[in-house]
């Protein structure tokens, strides 16, 4: 199954609604980078509000996607990480140090605008 990527002006919006398995995550990584390349988007918001579980592999993929998008000139913000997910990640020692985060989609877009200096 593939995760839909929506384009909004200069941004790409991704809302992950299901539990992601490893295959889906890799597919998503490729899809997103393709889309950034095609659309020339300068900002990406990945919303994780409905995600209840993130394991170390998914966390790694998310971290990688952020770095990769950065390389392609698109800023990524993760939004809506649930408390339980945050706690699990910290317990696993995954700090996602270079990843910008925001409370919800709205705040995420504001953050993107700030970072892009629009």
């Amino acid at each position: 199954m593939r995760i839909p990527i929506l384009k909004l002006h200069n941004y790409l919006l991704i809302s992950i609604q299901t539990e992601i398995d490893d295959q889906t995550a890799i597919q998503f990584q490729e899809d997103l980078l393709d889309k950034i390349h095609k659309s020339g988007a300068s900002g990406v918001v990945i919303d994780l509000t409905s995600v209840e579980i993130i394991d170390s592999f998914i966390a790694k993929v998310l971290g990688d996607v952020v770095s990769m998008s950065d390389l392609m000139g698109a800023k990524v913000v993760l939004t809506g990480i649930q408390p339980a997910v945050a706690m699990t990640l910290i317990d696993l020692g995954i700090h996602l140090k270079n990843v910008p985060t925001a409370l919800d989609l709205e705040q995420g877009l504001i953050k993107l605008q700030q970072e892009l200096g629009v």
Binding site: G80, I81, Q82, P83, A86, L103, D104
Partner: protein, 287 residues
Amino acid sequence: MEFKQLVINNSDSIVQKWMEEIDSLKDSNYTATISDELYESTNREFVNVIFTSIRNEGSTKAVEDFSEKIINLGWPLSYITDGLQIFRRVSTEYLLTQSEKVDSNFFTNLSASVNDWVEPLIRELVNEYSGSWEHIVSLQRVALQELSAPLIPVMEGITIMPLIGTIDTERAKLIMENLLEGAIKHNSEVVLIDITGVPVVDTMVAHHIIQAAEAVRLIGATCILVGIRPEIAQTIVNLGIDLSNFPTKSSLKKGFSTALEITGRHVTDLNVKENNIEKMMDSLRGE
């Protein structure tokens, strides 16, 4: 069996001796503040309960009622244990005086038989007491838990968590949960953790706070650690704890103004008061 019958038949004299003994305890003891009448009536009830229990081989109803009453009145546990020890001694002595020939075999039998009546009573009463204490402790633990990680939304987007008292692993977990849930519930951009009231910050506490701050960052808010006292700052540096990843401030006041900056606000004086006074002065001068 015959010892038991003997004790029950001669309960009056045993009770009398028991009352004398326990009365002598009153002045030197805990119960000094209790009025004589209450002491007397409680003693009577107590000795009645003892005899009921002996007669019925451990009827628990009377014992339960009595212990509940005593616990509610706040009498100490030592009253119960003293009373039962005295009863054991008094009845043993009484039985010894009643028998003509005493050898070691006889004494062993007698002592075993008296213990048989007294020990279940002691066990039950002590259990009732410790049960009530455990209940109180568990209630207090719940109350403490409610107080241990409060979260105060002070302004749109700004939330404060004041921490008071030592932090252990269990509490740290609660703090993190409350912090994250609260930040999402109140939609807070900035969360201030105030550790003014935390007496000691060791590596473990610092570790927990850092974890909480990291988790807060993951959900998309900023965490500011405020209320770092000079001695805490010294400990943190001496222990080699790295807190450079998130902002720290010495006082809640400074932290709050940083929080205002982050949320894009600042405090402005309105000067209304001063103007009003000047107007009043002007109007007075005009008259």
